[in-house]
Amino acid sequence: MPFKKRIRVTVNGVRHERSVEPRLLLSDFLRHGLNLTGTHVGCEHGICGACTVLVDGRSVRACLTLAVQADNAGIRTIEGHGNAQSMSALQKTFKRCHGLQCGFCTPGFLATIEDMLNKYPLESEGRIRELLSGNLCRCTGYQNIVDAVLMARDERAQAEPVNRQVEKE
């Protein structure tokens, strides 16, 4: 039996130190090790996007990352966005646009969209759809999610007109 490895992670601003088996996936570590069950597990091979979380600000598939690889990393899960009493700006746009129905895919979408908003100007709906293609939703038909991204993009542009990372072209 392989030895467990000691890892230190900061999840939603809280530091944790745990011993984990090397084969433990980050998604299972978050759900079963830290009880943060907002990170959902769908396909477990990187297709559905439900388990997407932010690791050091970059969206990653928690099912394609080992918990040992997250040693010393800062992780943000859906629990770090907000709660029913005080939702994050992105959660509010999802609510206003009806960007979810059953909610299973939503935590992954929010992580992906956060990364998209930070990296790209999202100049067109087509580009938004291209970037959302790594997350599957079986309820909304995507239109309301696209609408929520457009609203979040415009809100951010109003809030911070400069300091946007400009994409090529």
Binding site: R23, G46, G49, L66, Q69, E130, S133, G134
Partner: protein, 306 residues
């Protein structure tokens, strides 16, 4: 859907990784893990020891080397996509990165991992074959350079030995006046390409040499054979030409199509892949010829005709 147990180490230098690899038959190398971890999850693969290479900073980064560009094997697709050096010298590579899986995969997946995995429909093998990339490989006995076409042996098979590690990839500079085009067809954005293609057209010469001509033409294809391939016969039809006519572009695309024998699978029949090859090569040659007209208007190999 969980990996079988394995031990794990994350060496911080290439030498340490090589000696761990040499001492552990049955070990697997972990780069970005975006193909390896799904295979471990499915238990298509199992290993006694996973050697994580991501802590080795010497394997990461994009550097100029003369007029060519060196990309460390552990550089992520996302780092390549946003690199100013790539944008300046190989905009073709930057454009292709938009087609590599999805943002969350690009954030972790690496150039070297993709090449060693050698998926027949992936973008990096296609780019490596098109751009005559050379792959620097390290073993305990020293390093060696491998040409892209020799590195890619077959579907999911490279010529890397069990005790070797891919260190970096050199992309030699293209001739100064080179136009390019890249495109692929997939069911959804980010899915594996049913067919991907890229072309480059280089022009040169003056009235002393009989007028400007297409000095180099390259056509590379992915998703239609066991590895990424070139279309040498179609390239020969283009090379040396003064102009590209619509007829010639079509003939070259037909020639590229007739040289392949793709597999059929759940997503596309062999005939459909052949059709896509024809359509893409024709479209991309036209696109590259038109964009070369933009930088060399008087000597352009524009597509003539309708």
């Amino acid at each position: 859907m969980k990996p079988a147990p394995f031990d794990y180490c994350a060496p911080e230098s290439l030498d340490e990784a090589l000696s761990r690899l040499g001492n552990s038959p049955g070990a697997k190398l972990l780069a970005g893990g975006q193909s390896l971890i799904p295979m471990l999850n499915f238990r298509l693969l199992s290993t006694d020891l996973l050697i994580d290479l991501t802590k080795i900073s010497e394997l990461r980064g994009i550097q100029p080397h003369g007029r060519s560009v060196r990309i460390g094997a552990l550089t992520t697709h996302q780092d390549v996509e946003t690199s100013p050096l790539i944008r300046e010298r190989f905009p073709l590579i930057g454009e292709a990165m938009r087609h590599v899986a999805h943002l969350a995969i690009r954030n972790r997946g690496t150039v070297g991992g993709s090449l060693v995995h050698a998926d027949p429909s992936a973008e990096w093998p296609l780019l490596a074959v098109l751009l005559n990339a050379r792959l620097q490989v390290a073993g305990l006995g020293g390093q060696r350079l491998i040409e892209a076409q020799e590195f890619l042996v077959g579907a999911l098979t490279s010529s890397l030995s069990d005790d070797e590690i891919l260190v970096r990839i050199d992309f030699p500079a293209l001739p100064r006046h080179t136009a390019w085009a890249f495109d692929e067809v997939a069911l959804r954005a980010g899915d594996f390409a049913l067919c991907a293609a890229a072309v480059t057209l280089s022009t040169g010469g003056s009235f002393l040499t009989g007028g400007p001509r297409i000095t180099d033409a390259r056509i590379a294809l992915a998703g239609v054979a066991d590895t990424a391939i070139r279309a040498p016969a179609a390239e020969r039809m283009i090379r040396g030409q003064r102009y590209l006519t619509l007829e010639l572009v079509d003939q070259a695309a037909v020639c590229a199509r007739d040289a392949i024998s793709p597999n059929a699978d759940l997503h596309a029949s062999a005939d459909y892949r052949r059709h896509l090859c024809h359509v893409l090569v024709k479209r991309l040659l036209g696109e590259a010829a038109r964009s070369s007209a933009a930088f060399a208007p008087s000597s352009a190999p524009v597509v003539e005709g309708k």
